[in-house]
C-alpha cells in the first residue's frame, strides 16, 4: 500500500455549496463532506509528491484494494486518513466491469438469463428471475402456478445461501474465522440441492422466460426438508458463537451507523434500509410471484448499525425458511413452464414424433422468440435490496436495451457516509456489512 502524507486535499468540488440544499434531500446528509471526490490521476500525483514538513494537520491518502482480502473481491477504496481515522473515502469500482449490458443486446431473450445470472453471483437466481419477469411483462404472458412456486422456493433457498455467504465473509472480515468455515459448510448443503435441481452449483440459468428450465427432481421434498432440519440448530449455533458474544457486539454495535433519512436520500435498499427501521421489502410492498399468499415477517432494525444489518440477515434466513416451508405445503401440481408455444420449446417427447415440433424447437434456439416492442421496469427483492431490470424491446428477438439496477452498486454510496470519522478497522466492518457483490456493482 502506498501512503504519503499530504496536506488536506483541496481539489474536491462540492456542489452542495452552490445548490440550495433546502429544496432537495442533500441537506439530509450531514456527512456528505466525507465523500472523497478525486480522480485517480490526482491521487497518484499526491501519493508521489513529498510530504510537507512541519504541519500538524496533515492527512494521509491510502489505497485499499482492488486486491485486498477484506474488500469482497475487487472493490478499491481511496481513504483519506487522519492518523487512524477515516476522514473521507471514495469507493473505486469498475475492476470487474464485464460489459454485460452490452452483451445482453447480442443475446436472445432465451439466452439472456445465462448472461445476467453472472452478475450477482451470490444470488444468481434473482437475476434470472428479474430478467424473466421483465420479459414476461413485455410479452404479457402468464406463467403456470407451479413455475411461480418453484421460482419462489428456489429464490428463497438462494436468499438463504446468499445470507450464509454473508455470515461467512462477515465473520472472516472481523476475525471470526470459525464462522467462515461454518458459513461455507451450510451453504454447501444448499448448493448441493441446487446442483440436483439445476445441474450447476452457481450461475444456474434455471429460471427462464416462460417458467423454469426443468421440473423439480424426484425426492426434492425430502431434500428440502433435510435442509430445513439442518439449518435451525446451526443458526442457534451462530447465535451462541456470535450474536450474544461481547467481542462480536463490540466490533459491530454502533459501527457504521446510518440514519433513516440518509439511507433514503442515498437510495439504499435491502438490509441497509431496513436496519434504519423502514419496513420496506418489495415482497410485501409491491408483491410479485406468489408472495401475497405466503406468511412472513419483515425484519427491521432500529439503530442502523452494522450489528443490525448482521442480525437482519441472520433472521431473514429464518423468515426465508418459513416461506420455504409454505412453498412445500402449497406447491401446486401442473406444468413447470408456460404452454405458450411461441416462447417455450416443445416437450422433448414431441420432438421425436413431429416434424413441426422439431422445426419449432430449432427456431426457438437459433432465432429466439420475438417480444413486442415497449419498455418496462421490473424489480424484485434480492438479498441485497431492490434488483431492477429496465428492458426495452424493439419487437425483435434480442433486447434493444437491458439495464440492471444492481442493489450493491447503489448501496455502495452509503459507504463513505458510514465510514466517516471511524477507525480504519471499523471501515472493514462497514464494507462487510454493506455486503456488496462486485459482479453486480460493475456488471
Amino acid at each position: 500500500m502506498t501512503a504519503v502524507e499530504q496536506a488536506p486535499v483541496a481539489d474536491t468540488t462540492d456542489v452542495a455549496e452552490t445548490i440550495d440544499p433546502a429544496s432537495g434531500q442533500l441537506d439530509k446528509l450531514p456527512r456528505r463532506h466525507s465523500v472523497l471526490r478525486m480522480s485517480e490521476v490526482r491521487a497518484a500525483e499526491l501519493m508521489d509528491s513529498d510530504p510537507i514538513d512541519g504541519e500538524n494537520d496533515q492527512t494521509m491518502l491510502m489505497n485499499m484494494g482492488p486486491s485486498h482480502p477484506s474488500t469482497h473481491g475487487v472493490l478499491r477504496l481511496m481513504l483519506e486518513l487522519d492518523g487512524e481515522t477515516v476522514v473521507r473515502s471514495k469507493p473505486v469500482v469498475g475492476y470487474l466491469h464485464t460489459g454485460m449490458e452490452k452483451t445482453a443486446e447480442t443475446l436472445t431473450f432465451l439466452q439472456g438469463p445465462t448472461n445476467v445470472t453472472r452478475m450477482d453471483y451470490a444470488a444468481p437466481l434473482f437475476n434470472e428471475l428479474v430478467f424473466s419477469l421483465a420479459t414476461e411483462e413485455l410479452i404479457g404472458m402468464e406463467v403456470p402456478p407451479r413455475a411461480t412456486w418453484i421460482r419462489m422456493l428456489m429464490c428463497e433457498l438462494n436468499r438463504i445461501s446468499s445470507h450464509l455467504l454473508f455470515m461467512a465473509t462477515n465473520g472472516m472480515d472481523l476475525g471470526a474465522v470459525s464462522m467462515m468455515i461454518y458459513g461455507w459448510r451450510e451453504r454447501e448443503q444448499v448448493l448441493r440441492f441446487f446442483q440436483k435441481v439445476t445441474g450447476l452449483r452457481m450461475n444456474h440459468n434455471y429460471i427462464r422466460p416462460g417458467g423454469v428450465a426443468a421440473d423439480l427432481p424426484d425426492g426434492w421434498r425430502d431434500d428440502v426438508l433435510a435442509l430445513m432440519e439442518m439449518l435451525p440448530p446451526r443458526l442457534e449455533e451462530y447465535d451462541i458463537l456470535m450474536t450474544g458474544q461481547p467481542i462480536w457486539r463490540d466490533r459491530l454495535q454502533g459501527v457504521g451507523v446510518i440514519s433513516q433519512d440518509e439511507a433514503i436520500a442515498l437510495s439504499a435498499t435491502g438490509p441497509i434500509l431496513r436496519s434504519t427501521g423502514v419496513a420496506w421489502d418489495l415482497r410485501r410492498e409491491m408483491p410479485y410471484l406468489a408472495y401475497p399468499d405466503v406468511d412472513f415477517d419483515i425484519v427491521v432494525g432500529s439503530y442502523g448499525d452494522s450489528f443490525d444489518r448482521y442480525a437482519i440477515r441472520l433472521n431473514e434466513i429464518r423468515e426465508s425458511m418459513r416461506i420455504v416451508h409454505q412453498c412445500l405445503d402449497m406447491m401446486p401440481e401442473g406444468d413447470y413452464r408456460a404452454g405458450d408455444a411461441k416462447v417455450t420449446p416443445p416437450p422433448r417427447a414431441r420432438i421425436d414424433e413431429s416434424m413441426e415440433a422439431l422445426i419449432h424447437h430449432f427456431k426457438i434456439f437459433t432465432e429466439g422468440f420475438k417480444v413486442p416492442e415497449g419498455e418496462v421496469y421490473v424489480a424484485v427483492e434480492s438479498p441485497r435490496g431492490e434488483l431492477g431490470c429496465y428492458m426495452v424491446s424493439d419487437g425483435g428477438s434480442h433486447p434493444y436495451r437491458m439495464h440492471i439496477r444492481g442493489p450493491s452498486f447503489v448501496n455502495l454510496q452509503t459507504m463513505p457516509h458510514m465510514m466517516a470519522d471511524s477507525l480504519i478497522a471499523d471501515a472493514v466492518a462497514v464494507i462487510s456489512s454493506v455486503d456488496p457483490i462486485l459482479g453486480e456493482v460493475d456488471r
Binding site: 432537495g24 456528505r32 469498475g94 437510495s267 415497449g374 421496469y377
Partner: protein, 195 residues
C-alpha cells in the same frame, strides 16, 4: 438550480428546439384535452406502469415537484440510445423523439407506488440536469450513465467515469460503439489432425 439549467438550456443552441417543443406541447394540449398529465407533463402507461415525459427544460422543476409530492426515493437512473431503434416509438403527442433518453424511476414509500420519467436528450448535445441535489442517491447512477452512454449531468459534483478506466475512449453502451468481439481461434487438440 432548476432555473439555472433552464436558462442555460435556452441559452444554448437549443433555443428554437425548446420553443417549438413548448409550442407543440401547447397545441397538443389544446387539440386533445383528454391527454392525461401529471406534474404538467404528458403521462403514458407502459404495460400498466406510469411514465411521465417532461421536456429537458422542465425536468428539474418536475423533479422538485416529485420530491415534494412524496416520491421520496430515486431508485434508478439509466439511459437508452435509440439510434438504431427500428420501429416507431410510442411517445405522447408533443414529445419529440431524440436519440437518447434518460430514464429515472422513483418510488414512494408511503404510497408503495412507482413512477418513471423519460426525458428526451438530443444526440448532438447530450446533457441533462443532474438530480444530485434533490436525490443524492442518483450520484453513482448518473456517473454510470455518463461513463457508458456519454450523457453528462449538469450540476453533478463529480462527472467522471466510474466503471471504465479513466483514460478510456468512447462510451460503450452507445449503439455506434462496437461490442468489441474478438474472433475466437480454435486450436485442434494435440494429436488430432489439423489442416
Amino acid at each position: 438550480m432548476a432555473d439555472d439549467t433552464e436558462t442555460a438550456d435556452t441559452e444554448t443552441a437549443e433555443t428554437e428546439a425548446a420553443d417549438t417543443e413548448a409550442a407543440d406541447q401547447e397545441t397538443a394540449e389544446e387539440a386533445a384535452p383528454e391527454v392525461e398529465t401529471a406534474y404538467g407533463c404528458p403521462v403514458t402507461y407502459s404495460r400498466g406502469q406510469k411514465v411521465i415525459h417532461p421536456s429537458r427544460g422542465e425536468w428539474l422543476d418536475v423533479a422538485v415537484q416529485l420530491l415534494a409530492d412524496g416520491w421520496n426515493m430515486c431508485v434508478d437512473v439509466t439511459s437508452v440510445d435509440y439510434l438504431s431503434y427500428g420501429v416507431a416509438r410510442e411517445l405522447p403527442a408533443g414529445v419529440n423523439a431524440e436519440r437518447f433518453e434518460v430514464v429515472a424511476s422513483f418510488i414512494s414509500h408511503s404510497r408503495a407506488e412507482r413512477i418513471r420519467v423519460r426525458i428526451q436528450v438530443p444526440g448532438d448535445d447530450p446533457t441533462v440536469g443532474s438530480l444530485y441535489a434533490l436525490y443524492p442517491g442518483s450520484d453513482y447512477l448518473e456517473r454510470e450513465v455518463f461513463d457508458l452512454m456519454g450523457i453528462s449531468f449538469e450540476g453533478h459534483p463529480d462527472m467522471s467515469r466510474i466503471l471504465m478506466p479513466e483514460t478510456w475512449q468512447g462510451h460503450p453502451l452507445r449503439k455506434d460503439y462496437e461490442v468489441g468481439v474478438i474472433p475466437v481461434q480454435f486450436k485442434a487438440p494435440a494429436g488430432k489432425g489439423s489442416e
